[in-house]
């Protein structure tokens, strides 16, 4: 009996020992494998990096593939932001002041010098132009340098039929719009009535309504250098017109003419003075609070 028990005991010990050895062998294999995996993971992790932002570069390519639309969209964003700034100024949330420098009746030879001066000051302005032959490069330069090319009717014939009817006015706006589009590829969207909107008299409401239907808004002015009344106005007079009419205003639409040397000779002084009073200079657009 004792001998049988001994044999069973030995057999059990033997089986258990073999099982333990087999299990420990697999444990050892797994231990080796796990350590190898950990090392491989560490090696691979160092190669992961930040990845490549394919979506972002695809978006950038799309912007440049449709560059004309992208520029137009960027302009619209710019104008919307200007409109937001105007709202902040009017609600008293911003202490910045805006000056819209506007030049009527051009382009003239002097327009080049005006453009040079604006460029030297890194300023965008607004040119309410007429239809003129042989000055295509001036229209193009206005657009290319980021100024707003705006509609001032084709002929500006205040006493010669412009305000005889709404049709007469609208046809001149359309004629100038098409003419400028052919030259610059840019469609005007703001207009200034020659002589100001009250000059349209009884046709004003009908004209404004039809302008709105065409996607236009009109802009008068809040301030001026008085140079439209006389080409021979002295520099001290255009300066005092400027000072008197811009006083206590946060958003200024300054009417000037780019044929008038009296205004031009004061222009740098006007820019410096406005800057010292906290004004920034922006181009007009039809989302502006000043465009009705």
């Amino acid at each position: 009996m004792e001998s049988r028990n001994k044999t069973i005991f030995r057999l059990v010990v033997c089986v258990l020992s073999v099982l333990i050895i087999i299990v420990l062998f697999f444990v050892f294999l797994l231990f080796i494998d796990n350590n190898k995996l950990k090392k491989n993971i560490d090696d691979l992790s160092s190669h992961v990096g930040d990845g490549y932002d394919i979506t972002s570069i695809d978006n950038e390519i799309s912007v440049y593939q449709n560059i004309d639309k992208s520029i137009s969209d960027k302009y619209q964003e710019y104008y919307s932001n200007i409109a937001l700034l105007e709202d902040k100024i009017n609600s008293g949330e911003s202490s910045v002041k805006i000056a819209y420098l506007t030049f009527d009746d051009g382009p003239y030879d002097l327009t080049y010098q005006v453009l040079d001066l604006l460029k030297a000051n890194d300023i965008r302005a607004t040119f309410f132009v007429l239809g003129k032959d042989g000055v295509e490069d001036r229209y193009k330069r206005i657009v290319n340098e980021g100024h707003t090319l705006a509609n001032h009717t084709y002929y500006h014939n205040i006493g010669g039929g412009l305000y005889d009817s709404a049709d007469s006015f609208i046809s001149q706006v359309k004629k100038l719009e098409d003419y400028l589009y052919d030259i610059t590829g840019y469609r005007t969207s703001i207009v200034r009535f020659p002589g100001g909107s009250p000059t349209a008299g009884k046709y004003k409401d009908e004209i404004v309504s039809r302008l709105h239907d065409m996607g236009y808004n009109y802009v008068d002015w809040t301030s001026e250098t008085g140079d439209g009344s006389s080409k021979k106005l002295a520099e001290k007079d255009t300066w005092s017109w400027y000072v008197d009419t811009t006083r206590d205003k946060n958003i200024v639409v300054l009417l000037m003419h780019d044929y008038n040397y009296s205004t031009f000779n004061n222009l740098q002084r006007i820019i410096d003075d406005m800057r010292s009073r906290g004004f920034i200079f922006l181009p007009l657009h039809n989302k502006s609070v000043m465009a009705k």
Partner: protein, 89 residues
């Protein structure tokens, strides 16, 4: 007799612990394998992305070069836009 039971008992305990270790290591092994495969996929994808990205950068450079003037205009308007935004913040 008692000592024999004790030895068998100890061997069973050792076997139990060994099985426990085996199961634990196997679990760890599965988890490490999963992680390794994931990272490996990322690295492989990165290699593919690297080539795609390089070709797209080249395409973008060529595009910018071919429309140089308009690109400058776009960047200029963007600059003005940023100038305005600083007054809105």
């Amino acid at each position: 007799m008692k000592i024999r039971y004790f030895i068998v008992f100890i061997l069973v305990i050792i076997l139990g612990l060994s099985v426990y270790l085996l199961v634990d290591f196997k679990k760890e092994n599965n988890s490490l394998l999963k992680k390794y495969n994931e990272i490996n996929d990322i690295v492989r994808q990165n290699e593919i992305d690297k080539e795609v990205y390089a070709s797209k950068v080249h395409e973008l450079d060529e595009l910018k070069e071919s429309k140089k003037d308009k690109v400058l205009k776009y960047e200029e308007v963007e600059k003005w836009n940023q100038e305005i935004k600083q007054y809105l913040d």
